[in-house]
Symmetry: C2
Subunit: 234 residues, 2 copies
Amino acid sequence: MISDFLKKVYIFSGLSDEELERLTKIARQKTFNKGDIIFFDTEPYLGFYVTITGLTKIYKISKDGREHILHLISPFNTFAEVPLFENFGEEFEDSFRYPANAMAIEDDTRVLLIPARQFRELLESNSKICIKMVSGFAKRLRHLNHHIEELTLKDVTKRVAGFILAENKKANQLQNGLHKITLNISKNDLAAYLGTIPETLSRTLKKLQDEAMINVEGKNIEITDIERLMDAAV
Amino acid sequence: MISDFLKKVYIFSGLSDEELERLTKIARQKTFNKGDIIFFDTEPYLGFYVTITGLTKIYKISKDGREHILHLISPFNTFAEVPLFENFGEEFEDSFRYPANAMAIEDDTRVLLIPARQFRELLESNSKICIKMVSGFAKRLRHLNHHIEELTLKDVTKRVAGFILAENKKANQLQNGLHKITLNISKNDLAAYLGTIPETLSRTLKKLQDEAMINVEGKNIEITDIERLMDAAV
DNA sequence: TTCGGGTTTTGACTTAAGTCAAAGGTAAAC
DNA sequence: GTTTACCTTTGACTTAAGTCAAAACCCGAA
């Protein structure tokens, strides 16, 4: 049931049953396959999205085709809420665009589109959801801050090491003992996320492996010396 | 009068006179000179700031001392609000830290410190201010998105050209005819803001001048060929 | 099982931008 | 006016990371 799902989405967690019902009515479900575009940054803004299943990348492209990934969105997370609040108070404008591109990077990526106008009404009448929204934005601002810090103050090796450690931390919270992660994205995408290119990522992983900090087998990365990997990350 | 000033601060623009009065009571005014630290990212979070006069840089430092500027904060703007909303709902924690460093970069930089605990109470009782807060965050997210895009997808020349054009746009909104801007920060700081170093910035400005797109005289930059400068920026 | 697409790795080379060191400038301080 | 401290520029050199091209790998579809 959709409304059961929505309850577990952070920004909707304060809503009453009837509000959830209302939300369910306005939401439109869509399904995408790997490589499908969800929206371009040139398109008029319709509303924001909630991921049900799969994985979505939010990215920008340079004039000559280089790509940089800003966020990777997994189930229960929202994306493209920012334009909702541009000129809040004023009338909602048709001229709003999406702030970046979004592409599904797994098959069967299911999302809900929450149309902007209707959601805005719901928002006006419910201050709890507004607080959640601010918290969500705060978290994202932290993330972007961190992202910029990594990109500007660290070299590729540090970024790769840092990424592996962060993934490991996430995984360990959920799972068992040994330090082992599995990438859920392609190395091309990982490179674009870390602000580099596949060749350099490949060489960097190899270097860390040669220095006996990690062991790479396809999408599986085992950390063999976490101490030194942590040193390499700062 | 402080409350007259506060009215012109975007996030407080919806407050009633008595709420403004309340805010005035809890705010603490501080004055800094050029080079003074307002806070370090290692300090416990006390609250957020509103700039009254002067200029503040929000920045991160790498282990080996390189600096990157995330934001430049001018009068009527706020900074360091993000930690207010970490774990909102839960009790406010003493363990929160500032997300980055802040330093005054002009003499007589006057700011108001709005203590977190008291402001949170005010926030609970007023949903209008919450909406403003989300809008403010949305704007900042846009800014950081743009910043990342510049840093990752453009070379230094494009970033410098883009910066000059953006400044020019700001200036032209207020002023008169010809395309001329005046830097309000040192070139060292500008370099740190554009994700490069002073030497490279200097050479880049010189290059753009040699190519007859701009004319640099100390802190004054005149745009002599805006068409070509725009081409150089993308 | 082979084909054909995309993905990943490797090697050789280039280059944008950083480092280091020194010299000019500028402006406030003495 | 001279000193001092910082800011800015210039020159010579280094290097991390990108480009280009090709090979190897991997995997699903025919």
